[in-house]
Symmetry: C2
Subunit: 383 residues, 2 copies
DNA sequence: GCAATTTGGTAAAACGATACACTTAAAATC
DNA sequence: GATTTTAAGTGTATCGTTTTACCAAATTGC
């Protein structure tokens, strides 16, 4: 199934066993000090922006020496001394989930801007993998952790790493029960509220909600947001379908999310009276519903309106393109990075919660409910 | 647009200003040595599997001491001494591209298995970002680099980092012109060959090929594979559509790939005589084509068959589900990691090329060409 | 039984930065 | 003018490993 071959004759450079970039002599702070005729300490001060300890003359001398030698401080040495690495640990169930992928991407961009690098860990929600990763953080001097969508059953889980500065995206401090924790979240209830309002304005009255098991903060809050928004409009909120955890829940692709949608489709179609619209916990489930309805001959949006949450890039891709509620991913990523890097405030404080407002993105999967259904409902409401 | 609030009263743990996990005293190799009543050297030898230097007795003593103290060697110190970090640098245009996402995911998994961690860099194909990342690698002691789908115009680009062990996935050594380089590739020509054969066997004779600009090895090889496979069957290979680079080529989402497909759809529909089937460079483009055809009323697969390449998880999601050529992502990721970590062979060798065979995944976007078209073509061939 | 080797083990010098404790000269204060 | 303060800069111990060189005892060869 696989060939491996060594094509020795493709060597495009002459052998030159000599020394082109040979030993690649690393230039150290000592070399710089010598070149600038100053002490190592001064160079160190320069490197750490302690300019008040330096005269303008030495300062420029050091600057030119650094530039000439292309000096880059050895991070291992620096780290050994200071105990801190400029690295953010990033724990995520799986970047293959497109929303997580975008979030990780944006966090990496934000981290680089702040002069940090990112250590990635796809946990697949496997506690062993995650624990191992976290346990090794101290050994490599990492002090900052961002975790995305941790299980909400993890009470006190992160307490074991209390020396880390932790920020959780899509999580609730009460769930995690951690002494110090910052969180970054979408206003999930508002998000679903917007979805309900959009459908309501279109004329829908029988609205279902589909979610996979309530294992994260967002799942809990979106469901409760659904119930609130329905009650506010005096609508029946009983058509909330919470699915069993799918077999392949730990599969690589989060394609299982789509499976969830597939499974849900029949459940939803069986609801009586049949809803005219569905709100999905996220775009993946919405897409799964969409695909299944279409292959079952249920037209979207004519027979059924569908709306998702996230506005993962993938949702533009379906036909019809998915109407959804957008999370401001970049802003949330930036907030998470900023939050994890900011010097910890008063140690008495429990941390901050940053909440972002969602945005309705209207595409093509929502329409007015069909005549008959609409009149049917109108009749029922009049009775 | 955003609220931030400090909920100081949510502190769920008693203040306890004392010392719970307080100073978190890091346990060092010295502590272990003391506890086991042996020298530091012996512990070091133990940690580095140099068991031939140890008696069974000391060996167990050290083992228990390590377990008891939960000793984890300080990687910074180790690195400072050895100059090497157990980290693989991973350069990728963007993990948001689902295929890249899966590849990065699998590489991370393989790296962890080998005791390595992954430093991620989404370059967005921005040379500045990439250069900066690579330049800093030495400073953090990283010696191993995996780069995914680098531009094939980058002759000699990586020579500046000749002290790295470099593996390129989806790249050609001749393109990169690097002294020492291992590559991991799909057999791209075979992949397209399989696609052509599948369509040919279904009865298609007018087959188009759609690709975005030929900026990577795979893009070049798949196109050439298309031409070869068509010529082998004495078919017209002129219907290869190479699109201009799309405006948003550097967009976050690689959603532009879908745009490419969208743009291509009209070009393809305008081809005369109109092809009965299209092979897309990858699944993203195929999905773009699919979505566009369907909204234009061209039925897939009745009026037009479509086949992609990659079998990114996303391709199961479309309706109809996409027929495609699968890349064995996990195996390729494992090969890349193995390759980058293996002790470099004879320095005279130019490296190895590992090539993987693709696999046809039949779903629902390919069918026999329509009667009329089929007869029409049959007639033409008989003339 | 004595030299040569093997086995099991140790002491101490690095690795490259940081940070603490100092020094010295100039400036400011009284 | 004597004393204190500030500015600018340096020497060196230190972080926690690895590694080299070295040593003693046990084993082997002849």
């Amino acid at each position: 199934m696989r060939f491996s071959g060594t094509l020795g004759d493709l060597n495009v450079m002459p052998p030159k066993s000599g020394s082109p970039t040979d030993a690649a002599e690393r230039v150290t702070i000592q070399d710089v000090a010598k070149a600038a005729s100053v002490s190592v300490s001064s160079v160190s001060n320069y490197m750490n922006n302690r300019f008040h300890r330096l005269g303008t003359e030495t300062r420029t001398r050091i600057a030119t020496a650094i530039a000439e030698l292309d000096f880059r401080p050895n991070q291992a040495a620096r780290q050994l001394k200071t105990g801190k690495a400029r690295v953010i640990a990033l724990v995520v169930p799986s970047i293959v989930n497109p929303f997580n992928g975008q979030m990780v991407f944006s966090i990496e961009q934000a981290a680089v801007k702040a002069g940090y690098r990112v250590h990635l860990c796809n946990t697949m929600r496997d506690p062993k993998l995650e624990k191992e990763f976290l346990d090794n953080l101290a050994a490599i001097g990492v002090a900052d952790l961002i975790t995305i969508a941790p299980l909400n059953t993890r009470r006190g889980y992160y307490s074991a790493w209390s020396d880390l500065s932790i920020v959780a995206v899509d999580a609730n401090r009460l769930d995690l029960k951690l002494a110090r924790l910052d969180t970054v979240n979408l206003d999930h209830e508002a998000a679903i509220g917007m979805a309900v309002e959009h459908l309501f304005a279109l004329g829908h009255r029988r609205i279902a909600y589909v979610t996979d098991p309530l294992i994260t903060h967002s799942r809990v809050m979106r469901l409760s947001g659904f119930k609130k928004a329905m009650k506010d409009r005096e609508l029946d909120d009983s058509q909330a379908v919470v699915l069993e955890r799918h077999q392949s829940a730990l599969d690589i692709a989060d394609a299982q999310m789509v499976e969830v949608g597939r499974d849900a489709a029949s459940d939803v179609a069986a609801l009586s009276p049949r809803p005219t619209a569905i709100i999905a916990f996220n775009d993946m489930i919405a897409l799964g519903l969409l695909a299944t309805f279409r292959s079952a001959g249920i037209a979207v949006p004519k027979d059924m309106s569908i709306i998702g949450v996230d506005d993962a890039w993938i949702s533009q891709l379906s036909f019809p393109a998915l109407t959804t509620i957008r999370q401001p991913i970049e802003a949330m990523a930036a907030a998470a990075v900023e939050s994890v890097l900011k010097p910890s405030a008063a140690p008495t404080s429990a941390g901050s919660d940053t909440i972002f407002l969602p945005e309705l993105v209207i595409r093509d999967t929502c329409a007015k409910p069909q005549e008959e259904v609409a009149t049917h409902i109108r009749k029922r409401r009049l009775e």
